[in-house]
Symmetry: C2
Subunit: 381 residues, 2 copies
Amino acid sequence: MDRRNFLRTSAIGAVMAVASPISISAAGHATRKTTRSGRLNMSFMPYELKLNHSFNLARSQRTTTPDVQLQIEYDGLIGYGEASMPPYLGESVESVMTFLNSLDMTQFADPFRIDEIHDYMDSVAPENRAAKAAVDIALHDLTGKIMGQPWYKIWGLKPSKTPDTSFTVSYDSNPDEQKAKIEEALPFNIIKVKMGLDHDKELVDAIRRQSQSPVCVDANQGWTDKEKALEMCHWLNERGCLFVEQPMPKEMLEETAWLRERSPLPIIADEFVRDTADVRRAVQAYDGINIKLMKCGGMHEAHRMAVFARALGMKVMLGCMTETSCAVTAAAQLSPMADWADLDGNLLISNDRFDGMKIVDGKVTIPDRPGIGVKLITPTV
Amino acid sequence: MDRRNFLRTSAIGAVMAVASPISISAAGHATRKTTRSGRLNMSFMPYELKLNHSFNLARSQRTTTPDVQLQIEYDGLIGYGEASMPPYLGESVESVMTFLNSLDMTQFADPFRIDEIHDYMDSVAPENRAAKAAVDIALHDLTGKIMGQPWYKIWGLKPSKTPDTSFTVSYDSNPDEQKAKIEEALPFNIIKVKMGLDHDKELVDAIRRQSQSPVCVDANQGWTDKEKALEMCHWLNERGCLFVEQPMPKEMLEETAWLRERSPLPIIADEFVRDTADVRRAVQAYDGINIKLMKCGGMHEAHRMAVFARALGMKVMLGCMTETSCAVTAAAQLSPMADWADLDGNLLISNDRFDGMKIVDGKVTIPDRPGIGVKLITPTV
């Protein structure tokens, strides 16, 4: 039944991305690989995510996000995975499909060989983190299902320790639209704003007129003057902000260290840290890190990063891209290790393929299903 | 059947430790707690380990080692654990039994709550690492059995990456005895020597007359003069040594950093590092760390330490105490993450209670049983 559902949705995916020749080969690929017990059978398809609101970033605006949905079948079980590719990370549907098509997963007879499969994927290509994350998430879903347990339990974590999640509010020049966007964030305990535009203070002031919830700030490398950055940190601190994410360009490590020493708010690394190796350098200039599955290549590395950052005494934030409940719920499994979560990616789209992690009273709530904890649904779109 | 076996062996344990009033209460405790489905039922008993050879250390000699055997029953399954207490770590049968008796494990209805149970144990007493390791190992055995998988698989590790293990040879003033002791180590690919006595060079020379296998050196904090320590490192390097473990007292961090900068051999921390917090300080003076379950409090923390040390670019060594195959096999689950293993503790005793990890052609081989991978046997003693 799951297989039938996938193929049916696969057809939707092919229709959606019909302009691209990749979608044809993707659909072909998905049907070519047949189930063979005892081997890993992988299939995947492009799946364009539809945004509820257009997304205003420092330099662009968009209404859809590219995404690839993946599944690995093994011994009658299906593990689900996903690669979401915000354009600024350098991956595209084409690069993900090309990478995944170059993998021969049938050489593996055991989904538990996570280290080995990552070594193999790294030998095929050094980067392609989102594509690798898709495979990694599907493997974790499979192994968790084989073991009959969700990953937060396997990692020994306490489910009630999950943090509040923030909900992102973007600037809107239309006051009524702005008010509506803030309205949508009110059920959450933390509001996130992305800065680096001309209207940063206006946005925070608008939020403060409607809500006294703590605000966390993502500057997206937007501040290049350290004195002005410090001034802004003070201004934000006076308005009940929690922390500032990636205030300055990732290359400005010394200036960020200077800012961190003086800032009343914790400074969190996002673009600066992708994997464990980066965390080691981050400790000299940042108070914490934002872990995202698509940046680091999956749950295995994300867990290592969380262990590493905790051991270094750093704060841990768990983030996501705009993606379905598949990758968001996979990330949520790790959330009891995080101080803050920014797991709203699935709430921003209208064509989710999965039921999974829920936000209850503003708090991340992990479903009790085994694996990554999702269930395939038919999107209403 | 397992339960019957345990009680039978429990009686042996009680007989063995009959001189001590603790063994009576231990046996009483073991029979008092009855199985109740859905709760963690813990029982334990002292179990004195008999050494094949007397053990010559810098300051003492001994023929037995104190040990406590533990089990946790849950839903018809039994998880095995063990605390071994070499006198220099400050724990005794009495302190372990007192600590374990103070725990109320029946408050927990889920063996997967590893973080939570560690928090609870830490709230009862800050230290007692070996006692906590016993509980932690039993929980991992239980959860692994519930999931039907050995822990190396759950951790995503590749079983063929297990390292060679070293076998310890101690000095003997009788040349025939010395020869026999070295003979016993010949099947292993690495020979370990404990230094700090007057006969260090004699011992290495005696080994080199019988074997060209690499030798690793444990100085047990024995060297207090950094210049002499450096000289010794050069001498050992010329004789094919791999590394030196804890050359200087753990308090001499600056001198160890000085030595590390100049030594041709890697300097590994043993007494200096007990847990993750210590690893963070170790990186300034040591090239690697020796992880032992009894020092750090169990498999959960040991795995974190291995992840942390690897992320810091440090070497990882996996050690053990003189203990049964229970704790040794639990440690072996982590061994694919280690550069070197020193997992010979079970080979040094004549009354092992378990079948578990094997050394095949000098290499650690993890059994394919779920959990920590051991099977209870009746010792032939």
